[in-house]
Amino acid sequence: MLNAVRRELPEYIEGYGQVKTFQGANVEQDKPVRRQVVIDKDSVDGNKVLSSLQEAMARCGLTDGMTISFHHHLRNGDHVLNMVLEEAARLGFKNLKIAASSIFPVHAPLVRHMENGVVTGLCTNYISGPVAEAVTHGLLHTPLVMHTHGGRARAIEAGDLSVDVAFLAAPSCDACGNINGVNGPAACGFLGYAIADAHYARRVVAITDNLVEYPNCPVEISQEYVDYVVPVASLGDVQGIISGTTMITRDPVGLRIAQFAAEVIAASGLLKENFSFQTGAGGISLAVAAYVREMMKKQKITGSFASGGITGYLVEMLEEGLFRAVFDVQCFDLLAVESQRRNRRHQGISASFYANPHNKGAVVNNLDVMILGATEIDKDFNVNVTTDSNGVLIGGSGGHSDTAAGAKLSIVVTKLTKVRLPIIRDAVTTITTPGETVDAVVTERGIAVNPRRGDLRQRLEQAGLLVMTIDELQEIAQAMTGKPDSLPPGRDIVAVVEYRDGTVIDVVYKV
């Protein structure tokens, strides 16, 4: 059957289940629910501190086939997922399902656990590195499920994703399980992606390398949710939370694109008092922030908020008074962690608060402007950030689809060609974000506006910006690169891409 972005999908996918097809970004499903949580607690005593992961697994009643979850606030410096799986493998567990909010290159040992049958299922919002490659090559027993950041929180709250044991990397924790992410040697900021796990998992284990005297203030995840506390030597390497994409690009073409994007924002009419803004990570997106900063200063605008993954750059804007607050679902560098520790207007938010489409109001819906990246875009403005042009998994939505759907103006910034590959395609390899939620594509050679946004096109043209159709942009690119040969159609499904509402927007095939 065809879904709303015209992808042919099977009705049933082995290892995934019945397919609910994507109907459109804003199509109401049944009334959303929050699942009932059974309070399955240990009645022993008040002391939650256990001596080992082995003991925690035993006390949690971990058995083969269960689902265990992890957050990714330590990003590529995380040792907790590896540590837990190493122990599970040693103890002979099989057939575990991993619900990790993201998978990074540091999680390479997971490939071995997949080969040995310790791990047979995986769901995540973003995946890169050796695990992504292994999954693409068909190494995982059941299809990988790709969520969005908001979609994962929704799935957990609704019970679509049922977590048996959440293993929470806790940078600072007391013996009763009060956790924060802003103190300790592995301080990585507010643990926004772990909140749903803490609230809805059957059992919650805090793993900490910084066990402090009771009470551990500020409390971000409280003792009411935590079953056990396991002290370990180290949660990981905090330097690893800094991703390479948190620097403003120095590439002149990238800066040119950022400048055009800033001009689009200026022309859109949204840049005024109480402006709200988010950029994805990525050199060009961050450069847009730099231009926006200049414009806000020049026009003496005080914005409402900036949100998303937060960098030192946004912290500076907050401190300059350009925004009244920052909504931080995850710190992208240590300056952001430091800011969160001392600035009350640097507000940590949960993934659900950030982006869940089914709660009573997510921050993404308050966004004026969102700057997004893209690996490929098709002529209906559908965006791929999940796979590369060879079909190999290289990322995933993260907050991409969530913010695109929520923001008043979502702008994709990209070079028109990347090492000979034209970015605008007849069809993208994988659809991550539906084109109906993308308003404009800004490249170094011109700007294409979604035909749904005639109002925006008019404003940009009036401002004298270089507006063209997406077909014209594609022609310019292909005149330079030539037309790429298309890949042979895939057969075996290795990943299912869920839209934020839990419907299936696309699948990824084995390469």
Binding site: S389, K418, V419, R420, L421, M480, T481, G482, P484, D485
Partner: protein
């Protein structure tokens, strides 16, 4: 015409191609191509390289090319440079 000695041109930078040529004991143009866009443009790049070599009047040659996403204008220039360098006394 045959080239006289091995030569190379280009680089492994993005958008460039690194081309090595050497006299070949086999007949014709022997090409070993590696490209980051092999699946999308492999056939096309191969044709561009062979066309350039043929235009330069070279009959027998061995070429090793490592492509980093170069466009045709670069591929042809780097091949021409390598061949001309290989023809110099």
């Amino acid at each position: 015409m045959d080239i006289k000695h091995p030569a190379k041109a280009g680089s492994l930078e993005s958008n460039d191609i690194y081309v090595m040529v050497e006299p070949s004991s086999e007949e014709g143009i022997v090409l070993e191509l590696d490209s980051i866009v092999m699946r999308q443009f492999g056939r096309h790049i191969e044709a561009a390289i062979k066309e350039t070599v043929t235009k330069l009047g070279i009959d027998n040659i061995r070429i090793v090319a490592k492509d980093r996403g170069a466009l045709d204008f670069t591929i042809k220039a780097r091949v021409e440079t390598a061949v001309k360098r290989a023809l110099e006394e």
